[in-house]
Symmetry: D2
Subunit: 434 residues, 4 copies
């Protein structure tokens, strides 16, 4: 059982390796191969060394081999799973995604809005190159995509390659944990129904031991409190009212859509204070890599939990284990719609509850989107599909239309300058627009 990790030098990798070690008995991986680009070579070396110490500490030294390479094509043959978690342009590019839109009057965010759009333009061509290699070198392997914006990148992969690709995100697991904490129960006792898109999903039903507690959850003040998170600009009462009216709990990324002025104000304030999430992460990563390089350290640092992406390894390992057989498993995944949500195109990638069984994935039928948020999901999916088209073809017209259709851009008059800015600032990673 061989796993190839694209973007092996990520500070997340030890989290993933930790998950693999923890479940080794039920999911016996024998080979982990880290792959990164030249720029990431040093980081990958540090990560690889640390991960080998983790393996040794777990007493699995003979059982799991871990290698690191810059040659993707050498790594792929024999892979059962390829995990894509690369980030073109690194944290510096992410920082641009977060800051660039602000002077245009639009929020900056890694996956949502123009920031996510820029990331999609950078990541889709690279993801398709990876998939083309997989088609030749390991056509039976599953591609598990964490590369953001995960839903859009997964849709590009689904439509433009024959590789078996699944999009994954840690948000559904995080929401389950948070709701469990609010209800003060073990997370396993909760079953959440999700519908929508990646970073645009809604929990439409919460079962506790099979009993429907959705209404209870939606009116609990803690739920609204969790939901608004670190946006003090958003009124708690407004949030509570909204949750009850929606009849569903939206992913926290929906705050950008429901409270555009407040989230923009917060982003602007933070930027003016010299803060942004990219920079915070860079600071954390610096510390993390120091620990990774320390030959004494052989345990996942507590600090890693502040890096974001909690439960990321759990999501990945659960999925891979389920795809390898064994009993049926349920998980929230990004998969092709088919007729699961009849309000969205069949080829659209959606985020919803799936059954994994016999090496195959079947989405449940969430059915029509509730009128309460149907239009928003359709509008964002239209943006996503235009973005895929723009990214694949390097089509400026499609790129213009994609931004025009994004609900957060707020006016056709902003689009041209914004697009020019994005293309200029990301030029090194956008050969398709060359």
């Amino acid at each position: 059982m061989k796993i190839v990790v694209i973007g092996g030098g990520s500070s997340y990798t030890p989290e993933l390796v930790g998950g693999i070690l923890e479940h080794h008995r039920s999911f016996p991986v024998s080979q982990i191969c880290l792959v990164d680009v030249t720029d990431g070579a040093a980081k990958q070396e540090a990560v690889a060394g640390f991960c080998r110490r983790m393996i040794r500490k777990a007493g699995l030294e003979g059982k799991i081999s871990l290698t690191a390479t810059l040659d993707r094509r050498a790594a792929l043959p024999g892979a059962a799973f390829v995990i894509s978690q690369f980030r073109a342009g690194g944290m510096a590019a992410r920082e641009k995604d977060e800051l660039l839109p602000l002077p245009h009057g639009i929020v900056g965010q890694e996956t949502t809005g123009p920031g996510g759009f820029a990331a999609a333009l950078r990541h889709i061509p690279a993801a398709l190159e990876l998939a083309a290699d997989m088609e030749r070198l390991c056509p039976e392997a599953f591609l598990i995509n964490f590369t953001n914006p995960s839903g859009i990148v997964t849709e590009a992969l689904q439509r433009r390659s024959r590789v078996k690709c699944i999009g994954l995100c840690n948000i559904p697991l995080t929401m389950q944990r948070v709701l469990a904490a609010i209800l003060n129960v073990a997370p396993e006792r909760l079953e959440l129904a999700f519908t929508g898109l990646n970073h645009l999903s809604f929990v439409t039903r919460v079962l506790l031991d099979g009993r429907d507690v959705t209404a209870e959850i939606l009116s609990a003040p803690e739920t609204a409190l969790f939901w608004i998170g670190d946006f003090p600009e958003i009124g708690l009462e407004e949030a509570r009212h909204l949750l009850r009216a929606l009849g569903a709990l939206p992913s926290p990324y929906l705050l950008y859509y429901y409270f555009p002025r407040q989230t923009f104000a917060a982003a602007k304030r933070r930027a003016e204070e010299g803060k942004n999430r990219a920079r915070e992460v860079m600071a954390i990563e610096e510390e993390l890599f120091q620990l990774y390089r320390d030959p004494q350290v052989d345990e996942k640092p507590a600090l890693l939990s502040r890096r974001g992406g909690a439960f990321y390894s759990e999501a990945a390992v659960s999925l891979m284990r389920a795809l390898c057989g064994g009993g049926p498993a349920r998980q929230v995944l990004n998969v092709q719609n088919g007729s699961a949500i009849p309000d969205l195109p069949p080829e659209a990638v959606i985020e919803t509850n799936c059954l994994i069984e016999g090496g195959a994935i079947r989405p449940f039928s969430p059915g029509p989107l509730p009128a309460a948020f149907r239009g928003l999901v359709q509008q964002v999916k239209a943006y996503e599909q235009l973005t895929v088209e723009a990214a694949v073809k390097g089509d400026k017209g499609a790129a213009y239309l994609a931004l025009l259709n994004h609900p957060l851009v707020g006016g056709a008059d902003r689009v041209r300058a914004l697009l020019d800015n994005i293309l200029r600032e990301n030029a090194p990673w956008l050969p398709q627009f060359g």
Copy 2:
């Protein structure tokens, strides 16, 4: 927890009560109320007496009360589940269903073809009357429908009443057992994917411990042997070739469609020998009721297994237990299509795998029907919907079109005489055509 059984005098009832007793610990029923019509009063008394002895023997005398009545409206209030298993006109009407089509050159069968059509005309108005009573007297109860043709009756109920209705059939469980026997494994290790309609379903995938063994099953000679059952007229080689070409295992009822001349010949031969299934069942029932009436007998007679309807109680009890809460359960049910099978109308009732959780039922998304049998399923669904229309409105034009559309009728020139014959022979149970 109160269960009302409509058609309580059926010889099946002890099977159902046996299932309830067996699972009493996890599914604590406290009240079983049998309901039948005046003509069935004597049989119901016999059944009730026998079932009470079963309850006593199980040591549950104080815990489960069993009553029998002819007054449906008195029985319904307080019901959590209503099980419909009545048969208008009894076995005599079934015998007509099996014999009447033969002189017209068409096979006679209880649920398929003109026989099933006649049964639908008789049963739909009665089922809708029951549902109307439930809407008033126990609107929260689930109606579990076994009354045949189960898929058509369930569609009529779904479309014409607000009662929560689920159609159930024992065929999916039977197929699982047979395939388990062929593979020589425990049935629980198999997971079968069903798509299609009641008595027109196809197993498109068989998993053994999560491993796909569909191709293996389809080429095993035992599978074809089981499938053709007691139709020696059908060539084994033809059947094997067909199964492999379809890439799916059809329900044995599909034999009528794929081998119309052989199944007709068999039906005709049996009729000429004075045999038919209705008459066999009547003979078995006579023996059964003798046993039921014997105050010494307090155990389910072995003979009951020859009555047909194996696993019927297992299907019913599993479903009711799952609907009452507890963990999620999976079962093959007859439910409204929505967008689960996009080739069929949203309001159509289909037979497919469902997840039961939190008191609600969600079908999986079997997705588009394979081209190999899509057209047949669509054609039969068109027949079914015309039948519902004819039965509800007493519309002779719709009845003509229904028979015209049935693939086994074989020509417009046969329809009028056939329809006249059906309406005449079933007149006492067809007030809507009066």
Copy 3:
């Protein structure tokens, strides 16, 4: 041939009557019955008197009788067509629709945004009452709806009554005239393909004598100039770029969506100058009614053309004549979607090209919405359907969700205050929220 006009006291009525007189030969109306509410009695009398003079002048005195009444139920029997053009609350309510949203930071407009929402809440219950009367008194009559927001009111009528209802708007005819002027050709030589919703439609193709001139039209500077109309705040270059990128010419109402900040600024500026469209119309109407009351005047005043609603009578008379038989006719209408636009729900009312023939209306199949504006149309349709639900049921939750989903509201935090304001200011016309 009897035509009943609901809202007979409207200053538009002479326009309609003029159209009827002009086409009397091919469409021989014999009776026109004006109906209005008590508040409109005086205006209706003035209009009726003037229209009788028009009839006399046209030499049709014996052939067309024109009556005016306040008793709708007396007027309906025998009607072949009922034209709905009423406005609950009159121009004063319209002024509120235009001004109320401004302090909330949102544009005010008669049909678009919160203003149109308020009008829908007022008009839908009244329209449904009219339809209920028609179902009893003239069930075969067509209801031609001009009452705004015409698409939403028509959808409510389609879904909540059995009356044959068609929504009509003068915008498609206006756009045809304007494009003809730009191309310097006779309007009849142009054929425009429309898709979308009322006041949210797009011209996707322009044929001149059967030759496709869409690209030519979209890049002509005059087209952008016409399109931006009296919004000097909108940059001409931006508009031209947008038109070319969309590949379609949007209705001028789309300016509100594509240039929300500029159109809001314009509305605010005008309000601060004490101007708004309602007030302008009131001034024009005052003059118009003076003319209508003048017994010397028997010709449609030139001033009427400044009232808005050009080609309104042409649209209505063409439609009625086509529905009465004769050859096939083509017109842009608001009709039920069915499968014409597969991205929208089947029950949605859409605005698209239709064929009228044999007394029936068939929409052409515009097919899937272009990705360039699919999401926006879907989002606005979701708003519209929530608005219908809110208006019909007096459901505050649905009303909240409707405003939340409107792209121009711009944030959940604004919804509650805005909704309270609308409900309070329109209370006399909103008994359903009582």
Copy 4:
């Protein structure tokens, strides 16, 4: 304006050329290029010579040039229209299509049932080769397909090439003429609504001067008389009852489906008498070619009308003229479904009323198929799509499934022998199964 005719040696060609000459003023063709295979060279020479005389007689000698060649690739460049009317294997192959199924107990027919299936296997690969040449040599040309089975061949072309392809059939025009004769009115006064597939279409509405006369037509005894045509085995009363029940007039090809035993008996009887349609046509053609070769003859022989395919040239010329521009035109065509008939797959080719305008074709929205014949149309479409798959890939499994799904085959036990027989007898034209 250049037209290329593939299968130029057909006896039909003069009919087509006659149509072109008749409409030369409104549709000024300048070049007609006949193309045939070596086997057809002699016939094509005869046809070409005759057609040149027709041109001379029409006084258009200098204006229209007519050439004949065996080199398709030389002929295609510059073509505006390519008309495909070839028949692989000629009349001898057609005779086989008509006779081969009979010993299997199945009717033999040129386009319906196993005969049409065999023709599809022969014609699809050849049609795709033609389309591949067109993609290179005249990518802007329209391909007008008459090659039978026209609907299936057109679907293969639509799905497997980028050529703009339209399927055409003379049946809709024939039905219009016949109904006009029954009503004793000029055909132009009738407007017929068609839905369904080629040779499986239904007239759902007949308008006479815009007035609905469908019910009248359906109950007229002449309609049933026309419909049953030369099948005396079919009872007139049964046919009349069927037409009224269907509420639509089916194409005469539906007789094979609604009266399978009678049409089979008729085919068998004729075969036993040594008659079949192929042989009749061969006899007619022999006479025709004698006339074509006669240098004195320069007028379309009356005999041609007995050849079948009446109105074929009218359909083709109308379509080509409409596609060249000018005003809008309406015609019944075989086009891609999209969402026009929501019960059929979007990629399916359907036969329905279309609007031709601006060089583009838009089907009207016939909407859902009536339940009365929905299932049959769906079943036959499933057969058609399996046939396309089999023909394109040379896939015996798909071929087996195609025949299994054809309603006229009547049993899985017949399929293998039938398929082997078809593949053996047509081997020279089925390289894809080699």
